[in-house]
Symmetry: C2
């Protein structure tokens, strides 16, 4: 039965600082829901029903273009909340959310959360902080889309993975892509083919060793240079 709801609440920045009694007031309003890999939590433009917290798994927040392309705005893991905003301003969800693995989420209805915020003003301040970091991330995405090439974005993403979850080995840093090229393309704001091609090219240039979803970064320093290179 995985974890109790309270344990999860404790792990999310929004509610981490609540007292025992506050926690007990909140916990009964929380619903646990499960979603399977690929399932949609809500679509873009849906009316906002409440706040979500990720208990386990991963949620992709993304935009879908008319032609079917995806642009990922955020990937939220355990402890992250999302959809805070429409809860407050009453608007619709500005993007869609789907489970990229089997996922458990906690759900708090819009009303309950609003009331709770009114009674606990410091939670409102936390909301601002969370939304703030989200805003910074979006600005980062805009910067990347506007100023960099697919190649550079791909390199940046690999470097991030390598630094976060890479395991050093004799030949370089081993990285595992947890997703398909299709999904990778969504995160980079491009199409599958370009991911494939750029990956091949980076291998041909000797920066990487690619084997399916396993990548060995042979030359971190070189990649970092490529990131900013005007070629």
């Amino acid at each position: 039965m995985s974890e109790g709801s309270e344990a999860i609440l404790r792990k999310t920045p929004l509610f981490a600082s609540l007292t025992e009694t506050e926690m007990h007031a909140l916990a009964p309003r929380v619903m646990k829901r499960r979603f399977q890999r690929g399932e949609l939590l809500f679509g873009e433009g849906d009316a906002c029903t409440g706040l979500f917290l990720v208990a386990s798994g991963k949620i992709r927040i993304f935009k879908l273009s008319p032609s079917g392309r995806e642009q990922v705005l955020a990937v939220e893991g355990p402890g992250s909340s999302f959809a805070e905003l429409p809860v407050f301003d009453g608007g619709n969800y500005p993007a869609a959310a789907s489970a990229s693995e089997d996922t458990e989420v906690l759900f708090i209805s819009r009303k309950d959360f609003q009331n709770f915020c009114r009674e606990h003003p410091d939670v409102a301040l936390k909301v601002i902080a969370v939304v703030g970091s989200r805003l910074r991330r979006l600005v980062g995405i805009i910067e990347e889309l506007s100023f960099t090439t697919v190649r550079q974005r791909l390199i940046a993403l690999i470097l991030r993975l390598a630094e976060a979850g890479g395991t050093p080995s004799k030949e370089g840093v081993r990285v595992e892509l947890a997703m398909s090229h299709q999904d990778l393309a969504g995160e980079l704001g491009t199409v599958r083919e370009l991911v494939s091609r750029n990956l091949s090219r980076l291998q041909a240039e000797g920066f990487l060793e690619v084997d399916g979803r396993k990548i060995v970064v042979r030359d971190m320093a070189g990649l970092k240079r490529e990131q900013s290179a005007a070629e």
Copy 2:
């Protein structure tokens, strides 16, 4: 001496709902500052010193690429506030701000604003609302950058201008560009030349009549069709 500070405070969503006494508490903490067209209020990465409110004029919030290209994130007019976020999370400004006309702003130091929010929790809720709409706009920019062409973005912008500030005439809707092609390029996330070319092309196709910064939209309906056309 233009307007009194309180009159301006009344016009900003953040403070519009304050009582007289609250307003009197806040007003003395507000500083009025002037900036000339082109002047920089702060640069990207600068430490955040406080909150700004636009009294008159226009402020561009933008990112600058290493190669000198601009990407505008927002243009704020009278009554808008900006830089709310770094005030809260204590981080640096994520983008630069400059005056795109001669501008008067009100400035509230970080400390004063934070204290004021603590004493007036409903202001914190307003901050969330303001930040929320900003977030939606950023998502909109990402969507445009990721899914549309320069041509489509240009069309969208012209249509927006036409619907907001256009004056209908016998030949079509007259629109005045309040900025150079250079600045337009910044808003669209591209370069001057492409703005120029796309504008010429739209004229050649009969959608527009262009004369310097004056544009006559001859065929609104047609433009709207072009916006989504796969060509």
